[in-house]
Symmetry: C2
Subunit: 343 residues, 2 copies
DNA sequence: TTGAAAGCGCTAACAC
DNA sequence: GTGTTAGCGCTTTCAA
């Protein structure tokens, strides 16, 4: 087998080499204070020289701490990793987790080549905690994990049992609507992100902002995009909107991918953005600024989302069961580009 | 500590419950054939009922196999996970690896919160093999890993020591150039991907294709884009090209991001694609089809790249040291859209 | 077909 | 400050 070739050096080897005991060696590598500076130095030196590297599994076996965090995200469809939101979040998460000594492992329903469940997978691997991004909410295996006592942090979800974190979706909607209002728009439609938590929040934020401004919302001006925030779904939603008798002058779209689709649909109908309709998106995906016209949108700070999530999760891992689930929100920001006009 | 609450069931527990020995229980979970059907059933039943889940670290400690594959990608810059190429590759890789019983863990230079190296990290975690995507080639820690005896598969790189896999970059260039030639173009420039392996290959493919068609390549028609394939870099490259006295009628760009930048630069100069210049990209990133005009490009099958990489890596993990490093290539495909015109 | 015993590499009481 | 001992949960000879 490959890997057999490692010259495995153990604490026993370095104990023997230094004439000390394995315990003392162990202590040195676990920052115990009751080791003389001289001994510590001697051990460190020998370890360095003999190429000693601790064995994580042996350590985990006795301590019950794997220093491993599971990453759970939707498995079906081509989404997942490819979704820019996911990438940004994990990037931020990884940075913080890594700096605190944790490694990241993907969690799936397949274990050892067989079908199992998320919880089973976590237990098998001795996972210390899980970060949940874009899960399949309807999955019973996912629910099983939520009901377990494994520390978790959930992104863009609600939960009493686990810590949660999301962007300030309501405020994002408010910023979008207020901005359009400031440009003179009074008839503002909404293409929503379907039945996801974030989608709901953005819809609620939109409704509330409209109300606060004293604007009426026509029921037919709220179009349900699909939960997966695809370009195709945005296209369909805009088609639906364009079929209406009374068109809005602006539309606030719950995701940039949806907005891209919406713009495509308009183009197909010979309509121009922003001349014929102003559009505000949500996310600020990379391509937003390269579209024609460049998309005005609400920027989510995915990196901050991820790093804050890591902080929260590690807090509940290390705080133990007495640590109550927390909830936090990250500020969003309007990025003005070229897809809206004054009316 | 959180997690302590698990009702840890061990093989001893189920041995006791069934009146059998731990050995026999272990055998059942390792598909040994010398267990009577009756015993097997009894053990499986008890395990199911008592909620037994094997302990991966204990298993690894004795077998020296962690069933864990390390994922190594560039840490600096905001790239990495956010890069669509990476996402696609890992998606495909994960699928295959998971189905064969392996889990994926990110490898970094930080270990236990301290700075270490990739190899050290792998040994600490008992990693069975590593998939390398977009590394920092100049990193000595990366070299250290390459020189080790840990099985690795490298994407878009050359190596005698490890298995490698890449798209058929040379052929991609040929397809692009041939296509432009077929449209009547004779003056075809190239914006290259810098000094990466893929970039070199695409450049070579371009040169060879031009030669085969009997076309001359003006030195100033080869512009070095930066190794990171950013939009900004593409912009700069096109600026450089546009400063030339004799403009080409078409340009083959080594990456879609670069192509996006190139198109932006043209627009800034009041030039239109494809009227003033035809452009062929490389990658087929998601946004390619949503650009104006939609980008004609060479599609890399990132998913296939990833799954094939997994096959190769697992082969060398399970084949042991006698398994020689392999090399493979994945076919690419021209996707015709709207960024080229006949001349 | 089944089981006893040793050991993987490490940590944690506890005694010295 | 240092060492002895036991044990984490599992697999693996080897013997029964």
């Amino acid at each position: 087998m490959a890997g057999d070739e490692y010259e495995l050096v153990t604490i026993y080897d370095i104990a023997k080499a230094t004439g000390l005991s394995p315990t003392t060696v162990s202590k040195v590598f676990n920052q115990y204070s009751d080791v003389s500076e001289k001994t510590r130095r001697k051990i460190l030196e020998a370890s360095e020289q003999m190429g000693y590297i601790p064995n994580a599994q042996a350590r985990t076996l006795t301590t019950k701490r794997s220093w491993t965090i599971g990453v759970l995200y939707i498995e079906s469809s081509g989404a997942g990793l490819l979704h820019p939101y996911f990438g940004g979040v994990i990037e931020g998460f990884k940075k913080v987790a890594t700096s605190k000594g944790y490694d990241l492992m993907f969690i799936s329903k397949h274990i050892g080549g067989k079908k199992g469940g998320y919880l089973e997978h976590c237990k098998l691997r001795g996972i210390d905690g899980v970060v949940v991004v874009l899960p399949d909410y309807t999955d019973p295996y996912f629910k099983e994990l939520l009901d377990s006592d494994i520390p978790c942090v959930l992104l863009d979800q609600e939960s009493d049992l686990k810590s949660t974190i999301s962007s300030n979706n309501m405020d994002g909607s408010k910023q979008a609507v207020d901005y359009l209002y400031g440009l003179g728009h009074r008839s503002i439609a909404h293409i929503s992100g379907g039945t996801t938590y974030a989608g709901e929040q953005r819809l609620q934020g939109y409704l509330k902002a409209m109300e606060q401004l004293g604007l009426t919302v026509l029921p037919e001006h709220i179009i349900q995009g699909s939960y997966d925030y695809t370009v195709e779904s945005g296209q369909k939603a805009m088609e639906q909107l364009l079929a209406l008798e009374h068109l809005p002058t602006a539309v606030f779209v719950a995701g940039d991918n949806l907005a891209v689709g919406a713009m495509l649909a308009m183009k197909k109908h010979g309509l121009n953005v922003p001349e014929d309709m102003s559009i505000v998106g949500y996310d600020d995906i990379e391509m937003a600024k390269y579209l024609t016209p460049a998309l005005t949108t609400i920027r989510q700070n995915t990196y901050a989302l991820g790093s804050r999530a890591a902080d929260m999760l590690i807090c509940s891992i290390e705080g133990g069961s007495e640590a109550r689930p927390q909830t936090d929100q990250i500020a969003v920001e309007l990025v003005v580009r070229g897809s809206c006009r004054e009316v």
